[in-house]
C-alpha cells in the first residue's frame, strides 16, 4: 500500500502518522506539501493533526481552501480513501467531504488524555480488523473536537451506519461522563457515504506501541494495509 501524508504549515502530528504507516506498510509514506496539486497516485491519503495555517480563522478553515485540498477532493470523488485525524477531520468537515462541524470543546479548554472508543462497525476499510462493539483506547489532544451536526444529519449518519467511533467508558457505555468534548451523541469519528473517507478526533497513530500507552490503533493501520494492498 502506498500512502501520502499531506503537510500543511502548522501540521505537527505528521511524523507520528508517518511512523505508524511505515510500521504497518513497511515503507515510508509520500509527503505532499500543501501547495502541490500534482502528486503521484496513492492508495491512501492521510491528513494529519496539528494547527494548519495556525488554525487562526477556525480550525481547518484555511486548509480547506489550499491547493492540495482541491486535489484531495477530486481524488476522493474518484474513490481514493482518505483518513483525516484531528486537524485532518476538521479540514475534511470544512472542505465538505464529511458532514457536520467541529466546535470548540464544551470545556473551552484543550484536552489531552486517553479515551475509550467503541467501534461502531467493522464494515469498512478502516475498521475491518476490529469487532463491532469492541472498546479500544487511544488519546485525544485537541481544542475543537466537539462534533456538531443537525439532528437530521445525525439521524442519517446513524441510519446509514456512518458513525465509526463513539467516546465511551472502559466497558463500552457512551455517556456524558465518557465524552471529553461535548460531541453530539458521543461521536468521535465518522465516514462519508461511501465509507472511503474517515475523519476522527482521537489519535490512532499515538496508540501503536504498548510502551507509549496503547497499541489499539494498530488494527486500523494494519486493516488499511490489508484492504488496500
Amino acid at each position: 500500500m502506498k500512502a501520502a501524508v499531506i503537510l500543511f504549515p502548522g501540521s505537527n502530528r505528521d511524523r507520528d502518522v508517518r511512523m505508524a504507516l511505515a510500521a504497518s506498510t513497511g515503507r515510508d509514506p509520500l509527503v505532499v506539501w500543501h501547495k502541490e496539486r500534482d502528486f503521484p497516485e496513492v492508495d491512501l491519503i492521510v491528513i494529519p493533526g496539528g494547527f494548519s495555517y495556525g488554525d487562526y480563522l477556525r480550525s481547518g478553515a484555511m486548509a480547506a481552501h489550499s491547493p492540495v485540498m482541491r486535489e484531495v477532493a477530486s481524488r476522493t470523488n474518484k474513490g481514493v480513501p482518505v483518513l483525516g485525524i484531528c486537524n485532518g477531520f476538521q479540514i475534511l468537515t470544512e472542505t465538505g467531504l464529511l458532514p457536520g462541524a467541529l466546535m470548540p470543546n464544551a470545556s473551552l479548554k484543550f484536552v489531552c488524555r486517553d479515551v475509550h472508543l467503541r467501534v461502531e462497525t467493522s464494515q469498512s476499510l478502516f475498521t475491518n480488523r476490529y469487532q463491532a462493539g469492541q472498546t479500544i483506547r487511544a488519546p485525544v489532544a485537541h481544542h475543537a473536537g466537539n462534533y456538531f451536526a443537525d439532528d437530521a444529519t445525525l439521524d442519517a449518519l446513524e441510519e446509514e451506519g456512518l458513525v465509526a467511533f463513539r467516546y465511551c467508558t472502559p466497558d463500552g457505555v457512551a455517556n456524558e461522563a465518557s465524552n471529553p468534548n461535548g460531541s453530539a451523541r458521543n461521536i468521535a469519528g465518522i465516514f462519508n457515504r461511501t465509507k472511503t473517507v474517515l475523519g476522527l478526533m482521537p489519535h490512532p497513530e499515538n496508540a501503536v506501541d504498548p510502551l507509549l500507552g496503547s497499541a489499539d490503533g494498530n488494527p486500523l493501520f494494519d486493516g488499511l494495509v490489508e484492504a488496500l494492498s
Partner: protein, 736 residues
C-alpha cells in the same frame, strides 16, 4: 546624525534606562564621549542584570559545569550533553516571571517560545517541554486568573508548535502573591557533531535576519526584568511581548532545514533585548565587529526608530551569519515557509558595532566593552540565621490519621495537577513513555530504545529556612526523581529565582543556595550546563523566598525498563530504601505536615547527606536496571505515607503498611531525604542485595485491596482519597 539621536542624555533618561549614575560614568569612560540615545539603549540592555548577570556572575562561577558527558556548558543558548549513538541532548530552563505576572497568557506563552528557540538555535529538534510554576495563595483574588492564563499560555504555545509538554511542578503560597514564577524548560536532541553556536566568524560574511517582522512590542523587557515591581503594573503591560506559535513552528522547521545544509556559520535567537543582544553576542563571541543597516530590518510598522528596532523584543526572530554566497539557499527555504529573510549587515574585523539608518550612522560602539566591561558586583550579603531544629516528639500527632492524610493530599501543593497537564499536549511526537504525574517524565529518544528522563524541582520552604541545605536539596531531589524512574542523571539547568540582590539578606540567600547546589552537584556528578538568574522578584519590598529551580536531565539505556510510581499487582512487598535521621523515625521541621496540619511554618529543613543520597540512589537505579522493581517513588513533600498514597492512587491498588520508629506520625510524614519506596515481587532478593550494598532497606508492607491500612487500623478508602486528591484544583478553578 538625526536630531533625535543628538538629544542630550539627562540623568533622568539614564535612570529610566535602569543604569546607575556610576554605571553611566563607566559608559562615558568606555566611549570617550557621551552616548546618543540608541547607544545608551544598547548599553542599558547589555548591562542590565538580566543580560549581564552582574550581581550573580561571581557566584555562578563556583558551580561545577564540567564532566565527561558535557559537550557545552553555560554561556551558550543552552547546555549540551552527550547521550551516545552520536546524539546530544540540548536543554535549558528559563524564567518568564515578570511578564507572566503582568499578562499571564502572553507572558507564559512567550516564555515557552523563548526557551524553544534557545534550544533549536543550537540545531536541536525540541522533543519535550517542562515547567515549574509558583502562584500566590489560592485565596488571593488574582491567583485564579493567573493560573488560568499561565496554563492556557503554556499549553496553546507548545501545543501549536507540536512539542509535548510532559511535566513540571506547580505550587501555591501567599508569599508569591505579588510575584509569580513561570519557569519553562525545553529539551532537544541534535546530532552531537552538528551543534550550532553563536560566535560570528569570517569578516565580510552576511548577517541575515529571519522570522517575524520587528514591531514595537516588548521594548525594554530586559530592563523590566531587572527591577522590582511597584504600583502601576498596568503601565508596564506594553513591555510584554506577544507570541505567535504558528510562526515559531515555521521558524523551527525552516531553521532545521537550513541547518541540514552547510550554509550557517553562526546563529543566535533574538530573545531579551532582541537585535541588540543577539548581534552584540555574536560579534563578541567571535572577537569581531558587526555592521547593520537598520533600514533593511523587516518591520511591522513604518516610522520605527533605530532605538525601537534595536530594543524591540518581538518574538520568533533569529539572526545568523551565513557563509558567503549562501544567501540564496536561505532565502529559498524561508520563502517556502513564508517567513521574512533579509540580509541586514555583515561581519567586520573592526571589533565595533556600527548601525546605520537613513544613510546616517546612528551608533558606533566597541563590542568588547558591551560584554566584558559590564559591571560585576560583589554585593554585600548576610548569612540567613538558622532556624531551630524541631524535635519530632514536640509535634502533636494527628487526631485522625485518615483525615490528616486526606487533608495533606488535597492541599494545594500536593493535590493532583491533572487539570493543568491535560491542557498540555503531552503526547505529540509519539515518544512520550513516561507521562506527567510521575517522578520524572520519560521521552524516548526518537528512533532508538533509549529514554530521556526530565524533572523540575525546588523546595522554597527549605531554602528559606536554610539556603544552603535547600540548595543541596533542590539538586538532590532532581537527581533522585531521575533515579526513581531508572535514569542515570546527566546534568542540570538551573533557574535561580530570588528577590533584589541589592538587599544583603536576599544576596545571602542566593549565596547560600549556590553553595549548597555546588556541593550537591559535585557529590552527585551532576553538573550545571545552562541556566538563568531571575532577581528582583519582589513587590513593595516583599521578596519571594529563595526558589532555585533545578531542571534535571537523565538517560535510560532501555526505555522499556523505566518504572513508574503506580502499584502494579497485589501481594507484592513495599520496601523503604533509606532511613530517617535519628531515633524518632522522621524529620518534621519545615515539613508539609507541620504547615498543613499544624499551621506552623518553621523549623530547620531535613539535612541532605550527599554520600547517603548517592549510595541509595545508585542502589535503586541498579535495581531498576536489573528488573527487580515493579514500582518506585521518591519520598519528598508529605513524607512516606503521602508517597505510598500516591503510588496506590496511580495504580488504583491499595496497601497495608506498618509504622516503625519512636514517633509514628514522624515516621509517616517526616521528610527525611535520600529515600524511596519500591515494590517488588522478590523481596528477599532485594533485601539481600541491600544488605550487601550497605543500604538501609526495610519491608514496610504489602500491596493489595482498595484501601490504605496503617498498623491494621481503619482502612482509608482509595476512592475517598482520590476524590480529595483529584478534586481540589478543578473545584478551585471552577469558581467564577
Amino acid at each position: 546624525m538625526s536630531a533625535a539621536a543628538e538629544a542630550p542624555i539627562t540623568p533622568e533618561i539614564v535612570e529610566s534606562h535602569g543604569l546607575t549614575a556610576d554605571e553611566y560614568r563607566r559608559v562615558v569612560e568606555e566611549l570617550g564621549r557621551a552616548p546618543n540615545i540608541v547607544e545608551l539603549g544598547i548599553y542599558s540592555a547589555m548591562w542590565s542584570e538580566h543580560c549581564s548577570y552582574k550581581s550573580s556572575k561571581r557566584w555562578l562561577k563556583t558551580l561545577p559545569t564540567t564532566g565527561p558527558q558535557v559537550i557545552s556548558g553555560p554561556g551558550e543558548n543552552a547546555g549540551v550533553v552527550d547521550i551516545g549513538d552520536g546524539l546530544a541532548a540540548v536543554f535549558k530552563i528559563e524564567s518568564h516571571n515578570h511578564p507572566s505576572f503582568i499578562e499571564p497568557y502572553q507572558g507564559a506563552a512567550t516564555g515557552v517560545g523563548g526557551i524553544l528557540r534557545d534550544v533549536f538555535t543550537m540545531g536541536a529538534r525540541p522533543v519535550a517541554n517542562m515547567n515549574a510554576l509558583r502562584f500566590g495563595g489560592p485565596d488571593h483574588p488574582r491567583t485564579r486568573h493567573l493560573v488560568a492564563g499561565v496554563v492556557a499560555g503554556i499549553g496553546d504555545y507548545g501545543n501549536c508548535v507540536g512539542v509535548p509538554t510532559v511535566g513540571g511542578e506547580c505550587n501555591f503560597h501567599p508569599i508569591y502573591n505579588g510575584n509569580i514564577l513561570v519557569n519553562a524548560m525545553t529539551v532537544g536532541v541534535a546530532p552531537a557533531d552538528r551543534i550550532f553556536y553563536a560566535a560570528a566568524a569570517g569578516p565580510g560574511n552576511p548577517v541575515v535576519y529571519v522570522g517575524s517582522k520587528t514591531g514595537r512590542d516588548g521594548i525594554h523587557g530586559a530592563t523590566m526584568a531587572s527591577a522590582e515591581f511597584d504600583e502601576g503594573l498596568e503601565a508596564r503591560r506594553p513591555t510584554v511581548q506577544v507570541g505567535d506559535p504558528f510562526t515559531e513552528k515555521l521558524l523551527l522547521e525552516a531553521c532545521l532545514e537550513l541547518m541540514a545544509t552547510d550554509a550557517i556559520v553562526a546563529i543566535q535567537d533574538m530573545g531579551a533585548a532582541g537585535l541588540t543582544c543577539s548581534s552584540v553576542e555574536m560579534a563578541a563571541k567571535g572577537g569581531l565587529g558587526i555592521e547593520l543597516d537598520l533600514d533593511r530590518v523587516p518591520v511591522r510598522e513604518s516610522g520605527m526608530t533605530a532605538y525601537e528596532i534595536m530594543l524591540s523584543e518581538s518574538q520568533e526572530r533569529m539572526l545568523m551569519v551565513l557563509k558567503p554566497g549562501r544567501e540564496k539557499t536561505a532565502r529559498a527555504i524561508f520563502q517556502k515557509w513564508e517567513l521574512d529573510c533579509a540580509v541586514i549587515g555583515r561581519v567586520t574585523e573592526t571589533g565595533r558595532m556600527v548601525l546605520k539608518m537613513g544613510g546616517e550612522e546612528v551608533a558606533n560602539l566597541a563590542v568588547k566593552p558591551l560584554v566584558e566591561a559590564a559591571p560585576e558586583y560583589d554585593r554585600p550579603w548576610v548569612e540567613t540565621p538558622p532556624e531551630p531544629i524541631i524535635a519530632a516528639k514536640d509535634v502533636t500527632p494527628p487526631e485522625d490519621l485518615a483525615r490528616a492524610l486526606t487533608r495533606l493530599i488535597s492541599s494545594p501543593d500536593l493535590a493532583s495537577k491533572r487539570w493543568i497537564w491535560e491542557q498540555y499536549d503531552h503526547l505529540v511526537m509519539a515518544d512520550t513513555a513516561g507521562r506527567p504525574g510521575g517522578d520524572a517524565a520519560v521521552v524516548r529518544v526518537h528512533g532508538t530504545s533509549k529514554g530521556l528522563a526530565m524533572t523540575t524541582d525546588s523546595t522554597p520552604r527549605y531554602c528559606a529556612a536554610d539556603p544552603r541545605a535547600g540548595g543541596r536539596q533542590a539538586v538532590a531531589e532532581a537527581w533522585r526523581n531521575l533515579t526513581a524512574v531508572g535514569a542515570r542523571p546527566l546534568a542540570l539547568s538551573d533557574c535561580l529565582n530570588f528577590g533584589s540582590p541589592e538587599r544583603p539578606e536576599v544576596m545571602g540567600q542566593f549565596v547560600g543556595c549556590i553553595q549548597g547546589m555546588a556541593e550537591a552537584c559535585r557529590a552527585l556528578d551532576f553538573p550545571v550546563v545552562s541556566g538563568n538568574v531571575s532577581f528582583y522578584n519582589e513587590t513593595d519590598g516583599r521578596s519571594i523566598p529563595p526558589t532555585p529551580v533545578v531542571g534535571g536531565l537523565g538517560l535510560i539505556e532501555d526505555v522499556a525498563r523505566a518504572v513508574t510510581p503506580a502499584l502494579k499487582a497485589a501481594g507484592e512487598a513495599l520496601i523503604l530504601i533509606g532511613e530517617a535521621a535519628g531515633e524518632s523515625g522522621g524529620w518534621l521541621g519545615a515539613s508539609l505536615y507541620l504547615r498543613e496540619i499544624e499551621g506552623r511554618e518553621e523549623g530547620a529543613p531535613p539535612p541532605v547527606d550527599l554520600a547517603v543520597e548517592r549510595r541509595n540512589g545508585d542502589f535503586v537505579r541498579a535495581l531498576v536496571a536489573d528488573g527487580h522493581l515493579t514500582a518506585c517513588h521518591d519520598i519528598s513533600d508529605g513524607g512516606l505515607l503521602v508517597a505510598v498514597a500516591e503510588m496506590a492512587l496511580a495504580g488504583n491498588l491499595g496497601a497495608d503498611i506498618e509504622t516503625a520508629g519512636a514517633v509514628p506520625h514522624a515516621w509517616l510524614f517526616g521528610e527525611d531525604q535520600g529515600r524511596y519506596v519500591i515494590t517488588t515481587g522478590e523481596p528477599d532478593t532485594v533485601l539481600g542485595l541491600a544488605a550487601r550494598a550497605g543500604v538501609p532497606a526495610r519491608r514496610i508492607g504489602s500491596t493489595g485491596g482498595d484501601a490504605l491500612t496503617v498498623d491494621g487500623a481503619h482502612p482509608i478508602s482509595l476512592a475517598g482519597l482520590r476524590d480529595a486528591h483529584e478534586g481540589w484544583l478543578p473545584a478551585y478553578m471552577a469558581v467564577p
